[in-house]
C-alpha cells in the first residue's frame, strides 16, 4: 500500500519562535521526496506534526483521504540508529509496530519475515541490537517501519549516525528496497548529495521562520548508481541547493557559537 501525503499550509509557533510558516508540500503516491535545510528550519517539528504527536497552529496533514489527528499505523517511521529497543531482539523490534497496534496475525508475521529478508537481516532475527553494527541497526529500523505496510514512510535523518562509507551503501540499499514496494517516502536529511541521490524532488527549507524556499526536481534516471554523484549535473544541483541554504547555515553556526560562549 502506498498513498498520497499532503502537508497543507502548516504553521507552528512556539511562543515567539515561528517554527513553521505555511509549509505546503504535496506528494504523489510512490513519490520520494527529501527535505533539506539548516539546523532550526523546523524539520523535527514538521515530522512530529506528521506523526500526530504535535498539533499545528494552522493548516493540517492528510494521508490519502484522512486527516492526521494522532499516531497511526498508516505512517511508518525510521529514526536515527538509537531508537531500537535494546531489550527486544531484531525480530521483536521489527514486529514492534504491528504488536503495538494489535495486528500481529499470521499474515503480518509473514510480512515481518519478508521485510527482514528484504533488508538483509535473515539469520539475525534472534540477535540483540547491541550485537549489531550501526548499519545493521538501521536496517532493522527500516524493516520495522515497512512491516506495518504503511501508506507513507517517514525517515528522519536515518543515516546521520553512520560513517561515510556505510552511509553510501545504505543509500543504495534504501533505493533497492524502495523499488520493491514504491512507498511514498518523506526523507529528512542534512546532507545535500544524499537528498538528491535518493529523491524525485528535493524540498529546501529556510530557517526563522521554517518555510519552503524552493522545490527542486531531480530528473536523474532510475535505478541510480553511486557513480551518478560525480556527474556534472549532479554536482551542479548540489551547488545550487548549497547556494540556497548557505546564508542560513552560516547564521545557524554563528548562533550556536554565540550560545556556547
Amino acid at each position: 500500500m502506498s498513498d498520497t501525503l499532503e502537508i497543507r499550509k502548516v504553521s507552528k509557533l512556539f511562543g515567539n519562535l515561528e517554527a513553521l510558516r505555511s509549509v505546503d508540500i504535496k506528494m504523489e503516491a510512490g513519490e520520494f521526496i527529501s527535505i533539506v535545510g539548516p539546523s532550526g528550519c523546523g524539520k523535527t517539528t514538521l515530522m512530529r506534526i506528521i506523526a500526530g504527536l504535535e498539533e499545528p497552529d494552522a493548516g493540517n496533514v492528510w494521508i490519502g483521504g484522512n486527516k492526521v489527528t494522532a499516531p497511526g499505523p498508516d505512517r511508518g517511521f525510521v529514526f536515527q540508529s538509537d531508537s531500537l529497543l535494546p531489550w527486544r531482539t531484531v525480530w521483536q523490534n521489527a514486529a514492534l509496530g504491528l504488536k503495538l497496534n494489535g495486528q500481529l496475525d499470521a499474515e503480518a508475521t509473514e510480512r515481518v519475515r519478508n521485510m527482514l529478508e528484504l533488508t538483509g537481516l535473515a539469520g539475525f532475527e534472534s540477535y540483540w541490537p547491541k550485537q549489531l553494527s550501526g548499519g545493521m541497526r538501521q536496517r532493522v529500523n527500516l524493516a520495522r517501519a515497512l512491516a506495518l505496510d504503511p501508506a507513507v514512510l517517514l525517515m528522519d535523518e536515518p543515516f546521520s549516525a553512520l560513517d561515510a562509507q556505510t552511509r553510501e551503501i545504505m543509500q543504495t540499499e534504501l533505493l533497492r528496497i524502495w523499488e520493491v514496494g514504491r512507498k511514498t517516502v518523506l526523507f529528512i536529511t542534512h546532507q545535500i548529495d544524499e537528498a538528491i541521490f535518493l529523491s524525485d524532488r528535493v524540498v529546501v527549507l529556510g530557517r526563522r521562520p521554517g518555510r519552503v524556499r524552493e522545490v527542486i526536481d531531480v530528473d536523474l534516471p532510475r535505478p541510480r548508481t553511486l557513480a551518478m554523484k560525480r556527474q556534472p549535473e549532479f554536482v551542479a544541483m548540489v551547488d545550487r541547493i548549497w547556494g540556497l541554504i548557505e546564508t542560513d547555515v552560516r547564521n545557524s553556526v554563528k548562533e550556536d557559537a554565540t550560545n556556547a560562549a
Binding site: 499516531p71 529514526f79 531489550w87 497496534n101
Partner: protein
C-alpha cells in the same frame, strides 16, 4: 537447560555456562578466583593460629574449627534450622513486601507530580535515616513475634527500592519513548515496553541493596526482642559468653548474605539477557 538458553540467544554463538563458578565469580578469570580463594583460606588459617596461640581464652575469640564444629552440631540437632526458619520467614515476607511496595511507590512518584510533592521529602529523609534505630520502638508496638521484624525490614528495605525504581524510570531515553509513541503506543504500552525494561537494571540493583538491609533489619529486630531466630541466637550466646555459638550464627548470616547477593546478581543477568 539453563535459563539463558531459553531466552532467544543467537544459536550460532557459544552458550555461556551457568554454574557455581559464574554465580560467585561473575566475569572474573580463573586466576583471580584462585586468589580470592587463597585469601579466604589464608585468613582462616591466621585466625585459627591466633585463636590457638595468641588469644587462647575462648571467652574472647572462637577459632574457625570451633565454629565449624558448632555449626555442625547445631545442624545435627536441627536447632540451627529452626532459627534459620524463623529469621528466613521474617526476611522473606519483609523483603517481598518491600520490593512490591518500593516499585509501586517509585512508579507513583515518577508519574504523579502531586504524589511526588507529598511523598518525596519523606522518602529522601527516611532513606538517609538509620531507621533500625527505632527497632526497639517497633518491638514495643508490635510485640516480639514475626510481624514486628517484618515491619522493621519494611521500613528499612523499601527505600532503596523506591529510589532506584524512580531513578530507573526517569532515566528512560526520551527518544525511545517518542519512537514507540510514533508507532501508536498507548501510555500503558509505553510503560510496559519501554519504561519498565529500561528501569529493570536499577530495580534489580535496588533489590540487591534491599537484601542487605533486610538481613541487618531481621538481626537487629531480633536483638531487641524475640523468641527465636539467628539474631536471638546471637543475643543468647553473648549473654553467656558462648563464643563458638555466637560466631556460628554470625558466620551463617554472612554465608546467607553472600548467597543471596550472588542470587540477586544472577537474577540481574538472567532477567536481562540483552545486557551481557
Amino acid at each position: 537447560m539453563s535459563a539463558e538458553t531459553t531466552m532467544n540467544q543467537p544459536t550460532d554463538r557459544p552458550q555461556k555456562q551457568v554454574g557455581f563458578r559464574r554465580l560467585f565469580g561473575g566475569a572474573r578469570t580463573h586466576r583471580s578466583q584462585h586468589t580470592g580463594f587463597l585469601s579466604i583460606a589464608g585468613g582462616l588459617v591466621a585466625w585459627e593460629l591466633v585463636g590457638r596461640l595468641v588469644i587462647s581464652n575462648s571467652l574472647f575469640l572462637a577459632t574457625p574449627t570451633q565454629i565449624a564444629a558448632q555449626i555442625y552440631n547445631l545442624m545435627r540437632s536441627g536447632e540451627l534450622f529452626i532459627h534459620m526458619g524463623v529469621s528466613g520467614a521474617e526476611f522473606g515476607i519483609g523483603l517481598i513486601i518491600s520490593i512490591i511496595l518500593g516499585i509501586a511507590l517509585g512508579f507513583l512518584i515518577t508519574t504523579n507530580k502531586i504524589a511526588n510533592a507529598i511523598l518525596g521529602p519523606w522518602i529522601s529523609a527516611l532513606y538517609a535515616t538509620p531507621t533500625v534505630a527505632i527497632a526497639p520502638l517497633i518491638i514495643l508496638w508490635f510485640g516480639i513475634g514475626l510481624w514486628s521484624k517484618v515491619f522493621v525490614v519494611i521500613i528499612n528495605a523499601t527505600f532503596p527500592m523506591i529510589i532506584n525504581t524512580e531513578a530507573g524510570l526517569r532515566a528512560t531515553d526520551p527518544k525511545l519513548i517518542e519512537a514507540v509513541r510514533c508507532f501508536g503506543a498507548s501510555p500503558l504500552q509505553v510503560f510496559w515496553n519501554v519504561m519498565l525494561p529500561s528501569a529493570l537494571p536499577y530495580i534489580l540493583a535496588g533489590v540487591r541493596l534491599s537484601v542487605g538491609r533486610a538481613i541487618v533489619s531481621v538481626v537487629v529486630g531480633e536483638l531487641f526482642g524475640s523468641r527465636a531466630g539467628l539474631g536471638f541466637m546471637i543475643t543468647q550466646a553473648s549473654e553467656v559468653f558462648n563464643m563458638p555459638r555466637l560466631f556460628a550464627a554470625v558466620v551463617v548470616l554472612a554465608l546467607v548474605g553472600v548467597i543471596l547477593t550472588a542470587g540477586a546478581r544472577y537474577l540481574e543477568r538472567v532477567l536481562q539477557p540483552w545486557n551481557k
